[in-house]
């Protein structure tokens, strides 16, 4: 098990290293940062001095090594758009909003997807099952920005039940959390359905029924307990997905989290913040994948032995 974890950690670090190169390169390829840093009427002297100040006059590989060294020391650079703020401070200032949104989205996804998955499995090949398939199709086919705007127009503009945007208390959290969670509802529901179908067909379930245990107890206690392992480990993946997927939803709902920070920084061409946020998202995603891998290995010994 320990060897498995060490190998996976090594892979994760390798992925992070590769990602840091990609992020750094993309930030530079998209244009000369000095054309963003300096005003229109800047002189050649301004360009030379600014390049020296930001280290942009050095060769690209030297710039990268300096950047990597700073990152390893926890220094992610200073923002251009937010004068005087370090990009690390900016990310941590926005993180609570994103975590809040992701957590509720996770709850929404779990509370909707697990019962629905069980229901459509139990009612296989009935109208409910077909309806569930339609829901799954809609959930995975409808882009989250579209779902977000539709929700705003129904629940904020038409019904006037919930606020359209902003972060002004719990009411303002409901629509973005639902919009973010909706996409995963479909995936988790399908996963739960297939796991449930497998379990429902097993011998111990048949035995439980023969023994006269009430049907609800067979389904919700004996079947779901085993069928939930796959969707629950999948939640590890989607937590990372929620954080990164928040870029779109936070923009649609003007939710001031890390995703909106990324968009604002992109609009302002604040390459320091952009590369820090992308790196942060990458770390979260890789870390959540690593955790899931370890969890899988723990739950299923075949994986760690094979690896």
């Amino acid at each position: 098990m320990q060897r498995y974890i060490v190998v996976r950690l090594f892979h994760a670090l390798l992925a992070l290293f590769a990602m840091s190169i990609i992020v750094f390169s993309l930030a530079r390829v998209s244009g000369n940062p000095m054309d963003v840093l300096l005003p229109e009427d800047a002189t050649e002297q301004d360009f030379i001095q600014t390049a020296e100040l930001w280290g942009l006059d050095r060769p690209l590989h030297v710039q990268y090594l300096v950047y990597l060294g700073n990152v390893l020391r926890g220094d992610f650079g200073v923002s251009i758009k937010w004068p005087g703020r370090s990009t690390r401070d900016l990310i941590f200032a926005r993180l609570p909003a994103t975590l809040q949104l992701s957590a509720l989205s996770l709850v929404v996804a779990a509370l909707l997807a697990l019962p629905l998955g069980v229901l459509v499995a139990v009612k296989k090949d009935t109208g409910i099952d077909y309806a569930g398939k339609v829901v799954a199709l809609l959930g995975q086919a409808a882009p989250s920005f579209w779902v977000g705007i539709v929700l705003i127009w129904i629940f904020a503009v038409t019904l006037n039940w919930l606020p359209a945007s902003g972060r002004d208390g719990f009411a303002s959290l409901i629509l973005p959390a639902f919009a973010l969670g909706w996409f995963q509802v479909a995936a988790v529901m399908r996963l739960t359905r297939s796991s449930m179908l497998e379990v429902l067909d097993s011998e111990y379930v048949k035995l439980a029924r023969i023994k006269g245990i009430p049907n609800w107890k067979v389904i919700w206690k004996h079947c779901l307990r085993n069928a939930a392992i796959a969707p629950l480990t999948y939640f590890g993946f989607i937590l990372g997905g929620f954080l990164t997927g928040s870029v779109v939803i936070e923009t649609v709902f003007a939710w001031p989290g890390v995703g909106l920070l990324a968009i604002d920084a992109l609009r302002a061409r604040d390459f320091q913040v952009v590369q820090s946020v992308v790196l942060f998202f990458g770390v979260v995603y890789i870390a959540s994948n690593l955790l899931v891998d370890i969890l899988y290995a723990y739950l299923d010994p075949r994986i760690r032995y094979n690896s």
């Binding site: 009427d41 709850v107 705003i152 003007a254 001031p256 609009r267």
Partner: protein
């Protein structure tokens, strides 16, 4: 581990956990974003007739201001030397909308008072009865999100105008320069020395004492000290006579020399260059707000980022980055008391969400795409346009570097690409005549206040500053030289040697001032194709264009601009080979700009600028499109009128003068 497995397999425990998590979220949300105390919960101030209110002590030499009802105190009186500004229509009295195919007459007074205006009578302070609690304004994501005034460019001033005041303000109705923290001013015949008399008894917010001449010197120093990054930083350095590499002590020394303090309420600003139009820089159109020296001494550079402190009619409450900025309205102010208790800027990037926020009364004014204007109107909202068409839209023919340039080592070279068809006047004219501006404006800017013709860098506002700047022939001959005529355009292409047309790049990039510019570019491409040209549409970011044009490496390409700068600045920056944009270079332009920089007399300066204008009109230096007035959607249930000049970068100035509908 066994415990963890047990938890994973126990659905009841998981359900309980989910419930607890939800409850925790509810609690967290309840405390995460505390709403500032709503003014509605406070007892309303007793209403007083305006005449009974205490005005700030006026200078002894000034006569007491006549008492006026609050609603009539929309703007300070225009300088005595200027004709009265025409009354502007209220929000619900918009002029007929649509494309204006002839030059619109803007009957505005001369904005630059010369000589100095008479001392302004103090405006009686007013309190407003029945003010609404909060006025919300939804804007797209802010290009800057900071409390620093001297580290952001001019587009980052939207959220600073409510708090900070300037020496010289801008009348919201006429666009004229008017006294704000300076009561009067005059420029010496040398065009360099400006004397400002300062308003007395103006107090800084947060108890930083009285506004004095020291604050003027400090504010100018702030813009050129090492940590500053304002718009037009090069111009500011020229004005102050400093270089970027100068050490802090040198900059401080120069600031002392540049701003001579006669007494607490009079300064003489000695500019490093001749600049008879310095009010453009020293006034509200640019980024020289007054900042408190006492505050700087107390909190330093780092503390200046904590909040905005000024002398304006609104005071800073909080900024939540990426979300909103909130202000409290003053109960008393020498200039105006807002008709609302609080002002809130909400940053909402997505246009549809801004519209939803407007319709659900989360906000009362919102920047909305023009394409949905009809729908917005149908839902009971209305649009308010700026007084001036402050978005001057044109396209640049890149590659016209008709002046040899020097590299860093002083070696001269020619940047011309001889194969670039846009070097030929006939080609540029053909392209100008190929575009059906009216049809494009009608289709893509429905209901907007559009002005055709427009002349790049020569605006109506500038005509008011320099009468005679625009040659009347430009208007009368516009159709002949630039007017839509595809047949004539084809003949011009034939004459230029391109009967089959040619390929060129049509660069597309988003533009905050004119979001429709991508669609406009695509519509123009169709017009170009109609005369046989072969435009290649390419998404090229503005920063890439900037890199290429700075190095004079962009050729056979057109790209869009939408700005409303003033003529002198624009000519030098855009067209002089000494500038940074290199939009159209020619030895004639360089010579005239050189003369301009050594000429003080206003009439002579006007004549020189007009000569450049004549040259550019004939040479088709740019492809002019139209001027558009910026607009904003308002909820008439809350907003009775909002008048803003529309030519200041960021557009939505003078929010403190909004008339609201009592609730």
């Amino acid at each position: 581990m066994a415990m963890a497995r047990h938890w994973l397999q126990n659905t009841r425990l998981l359900a309980t956990l989910a419930g607890v998590l939800t409850l925790a979220l509810i609690v967290a949300c309840g405390t995460a974003a505390p709403e500032p105390a709503a003014p509605a919960s406070e007892p309303a101030a007793p209403a007083q007739p305006a005449a009974q209110q205490q005005a700030p002590a006026a200078p002894a030499s000034e006569p007491a201001a006549p008492a006026q009802p609050a609603a009539q105190q929309q703007a300070p009186a225009a300088p005595a030397s200027e004709p009265a500004a025409p009354a502007q229509p209220a929000a619900q009295e918009q002029p007929p909308q649509g494309v204006q195919t002839t030059q619109q007459e803007y009957t505005v007074p001369t904005p630059v008072p010369q000589p100095a205006p008479a001392e302004q009578p103090a405006v009686a302070a007013v309190t407003v009865d029945n003010r609404i609690d909060r006025l919300g304004v939804a804007v797209g994501g802010q290009s800057w999100d900071s409390n620093y005034s001297y580290k952001v460019n001019i587009s980052g001033f939207l959220d600073k105008w409510p708090v900070l005041e300037y020496l010289v303000g801008i009348d919201n109705q006429s666009g004229a320069y008017i006294p704000e923290l300076a009561t009067s001013w005059e420029v010496a015949p040398n065009g360099k020395d400006w004397t400002f008399n300062l308003r007395e008894d103006i107090q800084w917010q947060d108890g930083y004492g009285e506004f004095t001449a020291e604050d003027v010197r400090h504010s100018m120093w702030l813009l050129v000290q090492p940590t500053a990054k304002p718009s037009g930083v090069s111009t500011w350095r020229k004005i102050m006579g400093v270089s970027k590499g100068d050490e802090e002590a040198v900059v401080a020394q120069r600031a002392e020399e540049a701003v001579e303090i006669i007494n607490d309420h009079q300064v003489v600003i000695h500019l490093g260059i001749v600049l008879p139009e310095a009010l453009f820089n020293l006034g509200k159109r640019r980024n020289l707000p007054m900042e408190s020296k006492a505050r700087w001494d107390a909190v330093g550079d780092e503390g200046m980022g904590d909040k905005i402190v000024g002398t304006g009619p609104l005071s800073y409450v909080e900024r939540v980055e990426g979300s909103h900025v909130l202000y409290d309205a003053a109960e008393e102010h020498w200039r105006v008391v807002p008709e609302y208790g609080q002002l809130e800027f909400r940053a909402i990037t997505e246009s549809q969400t801004r519209l939803a926020a407007l319709l659900t009364e989360q906000v009362h004014l919102a920047v909305i795409e023009r394409s949905v204007r009809e729908e917005v109107n149908e839902r009971g909202m209305s649009f308010v346009s700026g007084v001036y068409p402050g978005i001057s839209h044109h396209w640049t023919f890149w590659g016209n570097y008709h002046v040899d340039s020097a590299d860093a080592e002083g070696n001269y070279f020619n940047s011309i690409d001889a194969d670039n068809p846009m070097l030929k006047r006939e080609v540029r004219q053909a392209m100008a005549k190929a575009v059906n501006r009216e049809a494009i404006a009608q289709a893509l800017l429905p209901g907007a206040k559009v002005q055709i013709p427009n002349f790049t860098n020569f605006t109506d506002l500038d005509e008011q500053v320099w009468p005679g700047l625009k040659n009347p022939e430009w208007t009368t001959r516009y159709d002949e030289v630039y007017g839509y005529d595809p047949e004539a355009a084809k003949q011009l292409l034939n004459a230029a040697g391109y009967p089959e047309g040619f390929e060129f790049t049509l660069a597309l990039d988003s533009n905050a001032a004119l979001p429709e510019v991508m669609d406009i570019g695509q519509a123009m491409a169709l017009d170009f194709e109609a005369i046989g040209l072969k435009p290649k549409l390419a998404n090229i970011e503005a920063s890439e264009i900037r890199s290429q044009r700075r190095a004079r490496e962009i050729h056979n390409t057109i790209s869009a601009s939408a700005g409303y700068s003033y003529t002198v600045y624009h000519l030098e920056t855009r067209f002089c080979s000494c500038g940074s944009i290199h939009a159209f270079q020619d030895a004639f332009i360089d010579q005239k700009i050189d003369e301009l920089n050594n000429t003080v007399a206003k009439t002579d300066r006007t004549a020189l600028m007009r000569e450049i204008g004549d040259f550019c009109f004939e040479q088709i230096c740019t492809l002019p499109m139209f001027d558009v007035a910026p607009d904003i959607a308002v909820n008439p249930k809350f907003v009775k009128s909002y008048v803003f000049p529309g030519f200041v970068s960021g557009f939505y100035t003078h929010l403190e003068y909004i008339e609201t509908v009592p609730q």
